[in-house]
């Protein structure tokens, strides 16, 4: 069995993203246990601050690596010419191919991610709302990641099963 370089690159970035996804799931579970309210958020203790940092870091990494590395790898492995595509074009193409339910929703998740890198401190009201929105967004991100993993397994099986050009004669 020979695997194309595109397939290998895809497998590598899948594993990287899954690592972020696993750590993000753990952070979400811990945050659920802590059940932080708006008041806690104005004076966080050390453990809570570390937990929120961990959450923000993994959310940001998963979002970035999926958008900038996993999605291009998926398209390349499917033989798509991604060079002339903008990021928004790539999301739209993945929606057409059935990998993303909604390219628009991905843009919204990306904007939530960008707010973690915001230059100015938000007001306390907005900060708490941002955290709640980020928790929702993180759950959606994990759902999309799981969908990509399922689709990737399906696509790989099709390549091995039906397309002789990717499998040398035994």
């Amino acid at each position: 069995m020979s695997i194309s370089p595109e397939q290998l690159a895809l497998q590598h970035i899948q594993a990287v993203c899954q690592g972020h996804a696993d750590a993000l799931s753990e952070a979400l579970q811990d945050m659920q246990l802590r059940a932080l309210g708006a008041d806690d958020y104005t004076h966080l203790n050390k453990d809570d601050r570390r937990l929120l940092d961990q959450f923000a870091y993994r959310y940001t990494r998963l979002q970035d690596d999926m958008g900038a590395r996993l999605m291009p790898s998926v398209l390349k492995a499917m033989g798509e010419d991604i060079a002339p595509m903008s990021a928004i074009d790539r999301f739209a193409r993945l929606e057409q191919l059935g990998w993303l339910d909604s390219a628009d929703n991905w843009l919204a998740l990306r904007q939530v991610r960008n707010q973690f890198a915001h230059d100015y401190p938000d007001s306390p009201t907005e900060r708490f709302e941002r955290l709640q929105a980020a928790v929702q967004a993180a759950r959606q991100l994990l759902t999309i990641m799981a969908q990509f993993q399922r689709k990737a397994i399906g696509a790989e099986n099709r390549v091995r099963g039906n397309d002789g050009s990717h499998s040398p004669p035994t």
Binding site: A87, Q115, D119, Y120, D122, S123, T125, E126, A133
Partner: protein, 100 residues
């Protein structure tokens, strides 16, 4: 001001549709300084009284609208709250240019 009329109007329109027609909008930071180059677009929005809930959700909607029109450039939106004492809000009012 180093933004085109179209870009300024796009920012105004996005603010109106997410923070209400009566929202007040200021541009501030390096983009209002003609001597500088490039830079982020910094926007201060004071929501209309009818649209002062869910500032974060409204901000995300505004940024998505702007991404469609202006492309994926870095835009920072600061949402002013009632009795907002943040230094950045004072800076934006002191140095910014209001978009009617």
């Amino acid at each position: 001001m180093r933004l085109t009329t179209d870009q300024i109007q796009a920012i105004r329109a996005a603010a109106s549709s997410t923070f209400g027609d009566k929202a007040a909008v200021w541009l501030f930071g390096s983009r209002v300084d003609d001597a500088k180059k490039g830079g982020d677009i910094d926007v201060l929005v004071r929501p209309a009284p009818t649209a002062d809930d869910e500032p974060f959700a409204r901000k995300i909607r505004m940024l998505i609208l702007l991404e469609r029109v202006l492309g994926a450039r870095k835009i920072d939106v600061v949402v002013e709250q009632a009795n907002d004492l943040r230094p950045i809000v004072a800076v934006a009012h002191a140095t910014g240019i209001q978009i009617p």
